[in-house]
Amino acid sequence: MSSAKVQSEASVMERGDVVSPLTVSGLSAAYQKKPVLRGVTFTVTEGELIGVIGPNGAGKSTMMKAALGLIPRLGGEVLVYGKPYKQQRKLVGYVPQRESVDWDFPTNALDVVMMGRYGHLGLFGRPGAKERAIAMECLAKVGMADFAARQISQLSGGQQQRVFLARALAQDASLYFMDEPFAGVDAATEKAIITLLQELKQQGKTVIVVHHDLATVEEYFDSVLLLNVELVAYGPTKDVFTQELLQHTYGGRLAFLERNSLAKTDNKKG
């Protein structure tokens, strides 16, 4: 399956000379010599919500980390608004998986959100009243203003995820990478998060989300990137989120998927 074929040619035309928020070409990465990402190439359209879909071990998180330079690349190039990521850090926000940090760390919700401003403060700058105000505002946007002074270990999983999103908002980026923001959150939080993502989109921001729940893909995302070590397909959700391409992405495991989430999807279509 050629990936470039599905990547919507129309969207490339439409963009004209507008610089894409993210251009990834030939990106490869490996852990301990075992390739987990091979030659991934795609160009993102500005102002979209993009779902990254694929089975476990398909390299979804790895792709984000490699794009952000958190793990060494074996090859390939990543351009953020036409320039290497290193020159564009302030334009990029990142929400790691919630389990990646120690929630027993001695700090409170407001403090975590203020960390989103650190990238803007320079080498010696200290967070002050201005950063505090921004952080409070961001906490309010995710409905967590009342929990500002709460020790982070005292928050529920969903609340912790909201704090992480508030921190991403505080980064005030144009392009966001979010690694499984919907993992392990309750329905209310999931609703709050998707509303927030749609607001970001309306502000013209681009959000790339690693996502697991196939049942909500069509509802949430404008474009879908199917990944299984190699790029299977990338393009508008209606073109790419098809049974055939999912079969390619998930291989034999699709039999199970078919009966569950996809059945639901097809019903909706019908």
């Binding site: 990029v92 990142y94 940090v101 120690d102 001695p106 409170n108 960390m115 650190y118 200290r126």
Partner: protein, 290 residues
């Protein structure tokens, strides 16, 4: 006067290790602190053999190099698939053994007392003074520790937000362009420095107690990073005073008593901390059940 110098030395050790220990505990690197403190041993002996004196600068440089070398080796083994705790165990015992070997080989030529290295001789710090133009400027250990403390305070307060973010969320730190590895080695360099400066007073083995125990107690006493550092230093200083008092009363090892006092304070925090202590937790549960 000797009391004063001993206590001041102890307080400086507590301050240096209390600050750094906080970050070691939060980064779950307590055993790395242990590893560094043992690994600086060959550095100290080699510097001693080269210079023939206990003069500090060369010793400091050599020991720091050894400490960082140990951290580097541990990282290397880990990256190549050796389990984290095994690679720590391999590296620090091996380097420490080399140090022991060197001491035993050359101990007769150079007056380096193995016991003093292992257990420290805080009681004698006021004997080894710094004399410039005939003027006695006080114990060398106090000067060394004072300078170390100034460096630690300066570095940590200048780069507080970097150290904090690297400890809490290294991935975001790296994404923000903070050189995570550099700050890692900076912290490890300071731990090596603090270890060497504390060496003469509390020795290679007990300095780990001062690095980890007060910080572990502080972790149980507060929910804010800044306060954790304050508590960590506070618990350390309290242990120095309590430990020295007990040591004088019992005529026992001062360093041993100081670390025992720190351990006793840790147990107190573990039991009675208002937020994290088990007694408070039991009471809260009982209240919920009632």
């Amino acid at each position: 006067m000797s009391d004063f110098w001993i206590l001041l030395t102890g307080v400086l050790v507590a301050a240096c290790s209390g600050i750094l220990g906080t970050f070691l505990v939060l980064r779950k690197m307590a055993m790395i602190g242990d590893a560094i403190s043992h690994s600086v041993m060959p550095g100290i002996v080699i510097a001693f053999l080269l210079s023939g004196s206990r003069d500090s600068l060369l010793m400091m440089v050599a020991a720091m190099a050894c400490g960082l070398f140990a951290v580097f080796l541990i990282q290397l083994f880990q990256n190549k698939g050796v389990q984290a705790d095994a690679s720590i165990g391999v590296v620090f015992t091996a380097l420490f053994a080399i140090g022991v070997l060197l001491v035993s080989l050359f101990a007769r030529q150079v007056h380096l007392d193995q016991d003093a290295i292992l257990y420290g001789e805080i009681a004698y710090v006021h004997w080894n003074t710094w004399i410039v133009n005939g003027m006695d400027l006080g114990p060398k250990a106090v000067w060394l520790l004072g300078v170390t403390l100034i460096i630690i305070v300066a570095v940590i307060s200048l780069f507080y937000k970097q150290f904090k973010l690297c400890s809490f969320d290294p991935a975001l730190a790296a994404a923000c362009g903070i050189p995570v590895a550099l700050f890692h080695y900076l912290l490890m360099g300071m731990v090596s420095m603090a270890t060497v400066s504390s060496f003469e007073s509390v020795g290679a083995i007990l300095v780990v107690g001062m690095l980890i125990i007060p910080a572990a107690a502080a972790y149980l006493l507060t929910d804010r990073l800044g306060m954790m550092i304050v508590w960590s230093v506070g618990v350390g200083i309290l242990s120095v005073f309590a430990g020295y008092g007990v040591a004088v009363a019992l005529d026992a090892s001062i360093a041993g008593c100081i670390v025992c006092a720190a351990a006793a304070l840790f147990v107190l925090a573990f039991l009675f901390s208002p937020s994290h202590g088990i007694v408070a937790k039991k009471l809260r549960l009982r209240k919920l059940a009632a």
